[in-house]
C-alpha cells in the first residue's frame, strides 16, 4: 500500500457517492469531501486541496466535462478520474485529452477504482 490519497467525490447521485466512498475507504484511502455538482466541486477542490477528484459527467447545472476543463484550467496539476455511465469513444477521448488521468465506466468495481487510483502519485511521494 502506497501513501493513502485524499479523495474528493463528485456525483449528483447520493447512492454513487456512498458506493465510491465505500470503495475508496476499503482501498485504504481517505474521502475528504463530496460534492453534488460541478460548481460545488470546484469550490471544495480549492478548499480541501485533495490529491484526486473522482468526477461524474452527467450532473445538473455545471456538468462533469465543464468541471474537468475548469479544474484543469485553474490547476493544471489537478488529478481527475472520470466516473461515468457514459462510455462512448468520444466521451473517453474528450476527457483524456482534457487531462483526466483515468476513465471509469459505471457500474464500476473495486478493482477498477484501485487501477484508477494507482495512476495517481502523491506529490510528496515523488519528491522523496
Amino acid at each position: 500500500m502506497t501513501n493513502p490519497l485524499q479523495v474528493l467525490i463528485v456525483d449528483d447521485s447520493l447512492s454513487m457517492r456512498v458506493i465510491a466512498k465505500s470503495f475508496v475507504t476499503k482501498l485504504g484511502h481517505e474521502v475528504v469531501g463530496d460534492a453534488a455538482d460541478g460548481k460545488e466541486a470546484v469550490r471544495k477542490y480549492f478548499e480541501l486541496k485533495p490529491d484526486v477528484v473522482m468526477l461524474d459527467l452527467v450532473m445538473p447545472r455545471f456538468d462533469g466535462k465543464k468541471t474537468l476543463v475548469k479544474l484543469r484550467e485553474l490547476d493544471p496539476e489537478a488529478n481527475v478520474i472520470i466516473c461515468s455511465s457514459l462510455g462512448s469513444e468520444g466521451d473517453i477521448e474528450f476527457c483524456l485529452t482534457n487531462g483526466a488521468k483515468f476513465y471509469l465506466q459505471k457500474p464500476f468495481e473495486i478493482t477498477g477504482v484501485e487501477n484508477a487510483l494507482a495512476q495517481i502519485t502523491r506529490p510528496l511521494e515523488s519528491q522523496t
Partner: protein, 283 residues
C-alpha cells in the same frame, strides 16, 4: 458487458494505459472514416455538398449515403463503391491494439471472448412494432443494457415480456423515475417500478440493506437507470450525431405520462416474481 467500448474494457483491466488508449482511438478513426469524408477523398462530392447532406441528416433518420442519392449528389454506384472501400480499409479496435504491440494475438482473443461473453439481445424476441420504430436501435440497445445490468449489478434475471399497446394500470406502491436522452431528438425513458423490487435492487447495488432508507433506494434506482442509458448510448457509436444524457428526474408526475403517452409506449418486463414497466416517450 459487451455494450462497453472494448478500449474502455482494456483500460479498466489495466491492459492499456490512457496514452495507448488515446493513440488507438486516433488510429481507429483514421482507419474508419465516415462515408462523407471518403466521398470527398474520392472526389465524388465537395465539402459544400457534404455539409449540405450533414445538415439534412440532422433533420431525418436517413443515412449519409441514402441522403446523398436522394438529393441527387451521388449515384447509387458511387455509394456502393464507398461502402466497399469502407469495408476494405476498416480496422477493428483489437487489430490496432495488436499492431501497436500493446497486446498479443492470444491476449486479444482471450479478452475479446471475455468482453463479448454476453450476447446482444436478439431482435427475434422483440415485438414487430419496435422493429419498425424509428428509434428501434435506441430502444433495443436500451433493452439490452437493462437486461445485462440487471444481471450484473442486482443479480436479478429480467425478461422482456411484451409491448403494451395501452397504458398499464399503475401498480400499487410503485415509483416513477424518468430520464431524458438527447439523441437526434429527445427520447425520455422511465421506470414504473414497485417499491419491493426497488429495495431489492438498491440493496444489491449498494451492498448494504437500505430497505428502510427511502431516499437512498430511490436514488440508487434512478442511478441504475442512468447507468443503463449511459451504457446504451455508448453502444450506439453514432459519432456524427450528438447524444447527451440528462440527470434522472425522480417521481415524474403521472399527468406527464398521460400527456406524452400519445408519443410513447410501455414495455412490460419481469424480474423474478415482480413485474415492472419501462416506458419510452419521444418528442
Amino acid at each position: 458487458m459487451s455494450n462497453q467500448f472494448f478500449g474502455q474494457y482494456l483500460l479498466e483491466k489495466g491492459l492499456l494505459n490512457t496514452q495507448q488508449l488515446l493513440t488507438s482511438i486516433g488510429l481507429q478513426k483514421e482507419a474508419n472514416p465516415p462515408l462523407g469524408e471518403l466521398a470527398i477523398r474520392e472526389g465524388f462530392i465537395d465539402e459544400i455538398a457534404a455539409s449540405k447532406i450533414n445538415a439534412e441528416q440532422q433533420r431525418t433518420d436517413m443515412r449519409f449515403g441514402e441522403l446523398a442519392v436522394s438529393m441527387g449528389l451521388m449515384t447509387e454506384e458511387q455509394v456502393s463503391l464507398l461502402f466497399h472501400t469502407q469495408k476494405e480499409i476498416k480496422k477493428f479496435f483489437g487489430e490496432i491494439v495488436v499492431e501497436q504491440g500493446y497486446l498479443t494475438e492470444s491476449q486479444l482473443q482471450q479478452h475479446l471472448d471475455a468482453h463479448g461473453k454476453l450476447k446482444k439481445l436478439s431482435l427475434d424476441h422483440i415485438d414487430s412494432s419496435i422493429k419498425e420504430h424509428i428509434y428501434c436501435r435506441q430502444i433495443t440497445d436500451t433493452l439490452d443494457a437493462i437486461i445485462k445490468n440487471f444481471m450484473r449489478i442486482p443479480k436479478i434475471h429480467v425478461q422482456v415480456a411484451q409491448v403494451e399497446q395501452t397504458k398499464p394500470a399503475l401498480l400499487n406502491d410503485s415509483v416513477i423515475i424518468s430520464q431524458t436522452t438527447h439523441l437526434p431528438e429527445s427520447v425520455k425513458i422511465g421506470w414504473v417500478m414497485q417499491r419491493p423490487l426497488m429495495k431489492q435492487l438498491a440493496t444489491n447495488f449498494l451492498g448494504m440493506d437500505v430497505s428502510d432508507q427511502e431516499e437512498l433506494y430511490i436514488d440508487a434506482t434512478s442511478e441504475f437507470l442512468n447507468i443503463i442509458l449511459g451504457n446504451a448510448l455508448a453502444s450506439q457509436r453514432e459519432g456524427e450525431k450528438e447524444t447527451r444524457l440528462e440527470p434522472p428526474l425522480l417521481e415524474l408526475p403521472e399527468e406527464d405520462i398521460h400527456r406524452d403517452y400519445e408519443q410513447g409506449f410501455y414495455l412490460s418486463m419481469s424480474a423474478g416474481q415482480d413485474n415492472f414497466s419501462v416506458f419510452f416517450m419521444y418528442n
